[in-house]
Symmetry: C2
Subunit: 209 residues, 2 copies
């Protein structure tokens, strides 16, 4: 039931024999309000009180079910990502370089989308300071996406387009790491052309060929 990300299950809310009903309406209202609010007022001014007011909910209803502001934010992302069927496998046309460029350009577009920029920055902030939340993120949000990337790379490996003894985790971080870093630290323009250059450079290596 939701992330909770740090608490032991105990008597999981949903099993006991007595009575207990969790309001699904309130849950959705809270997560929606949290996501919208962080986009409007920014991370620094995001408050539990504000979320409760916007959601038309008592503060206790938030404190009862989530251990921290970060956990609420996390569940809000989880709700979004579970909406549509979003595991349609990465493109695999046989042309690895083109496929990677397409995917990285999509990542760039998403990072540049003002609708997601603030919320994602907020989530990253919480992850930055909460190892438990970081673990939940790695497992529930980043993990599935990473698996898709690995599949595409494995396919390329089978086709002989990638070195056979490649560590796929490292490969993924070499492709996406530069993008993420540029976005987080704003260390340079995050353009589709940059994505292309990263792909080309990563594939060919820094050494002359």
């Amino acid at each position: 039931m939701t992330a909770q990300h740090g608490t032991a299950p105990g008597t999981a809310p949903g099993t006991a024999h007595g009575t207990r009903r969790r309001s699904e309406a309130s849950r959705r209202a809270i997560l929606t309000a949290a996501f919208e609010l962080v986009g409007e007022v920014g991370y620094a001014k995001l408050s539990i009180e504000g979320i409760a007011a916007r959601a038309g909910v008592g503060k206790q209803t938030i404190y009862r079910w989530w251990p921290s502001k970060g956990a609420v934010l996390f569940d809000a992302f989880l709700m979004l990502s579970e909406g549509p069927d979003d595991s349609p496998a990465l493109p695999d046309t046989g042309d690895l370089e083109a496929d990677l460029k397409a995917v990285l350009r999509a990542t760039v577009a998403e990072l540049n989308d003002p609708r997601y920029d603030e919320p994602m920055r907020a989530l990253n902030t919480e992850i930055l300071h909460d190892p438990a939340l970081a673990a939940a993120y790695a497992e529930r949000l980043d993990g599935p996406m990473k698996e898709l990337k690995k599949q595409r790379l494995r396919s390329a490996q089978r086709a002989g387009q990638l070195s056979g003894d490649l560590d796929l985790d490292v490969a993924i971080e070499m492709l996406w790491g530069p993008l993420l870093n540029r976005w987080l630290q704003r260390s340079g323009p995050l353009t589709p052309e940059y994505a292309d250059t990263v792909v080309e450079t990563a594939l060919n290596g820094l050494r002359p060929r």
Copy 2:
């Protein structure tokens, strides 16, 4: 002078004709207190009041000279990095791979040092949400280090160990991006071995050779 990072210079504190003396002792006490406190209580509980109390300083003295908590933190780092002579150029033994491994391993060690972990996470948090601070960081802290890295890579390029048409900014981000990301998001163990693998993979490229 300090960073100020967003304000126009105006009458820079130090030039006016009347009288004005800024207490250097207070300045150092504030920056030291900020750095120590964030390491002790963490970023979430770091407060201006706490910094002032620890530094034995009035709150107004902080508000007078710094526009935000992030700017204080930034100047604290600036003070540290300006202490010793820390631009001794990167090692250049002629063996690019070994030199890069040594430097990346040093980066890993620094990121893993609990003395710097919390403060650096705090600084990154502020950078994440403050473009002006991000620009100051890029210029004053990251910039000089990046220039050293570029020099080493240029030397390698001259020696024919790196592709001639390489974008050095991209090369640097491909080497350090994975490390930074792993540290920020805690997406995996940050070990010296990982640094080695990144160097090897980046140099050789993902494609088979």
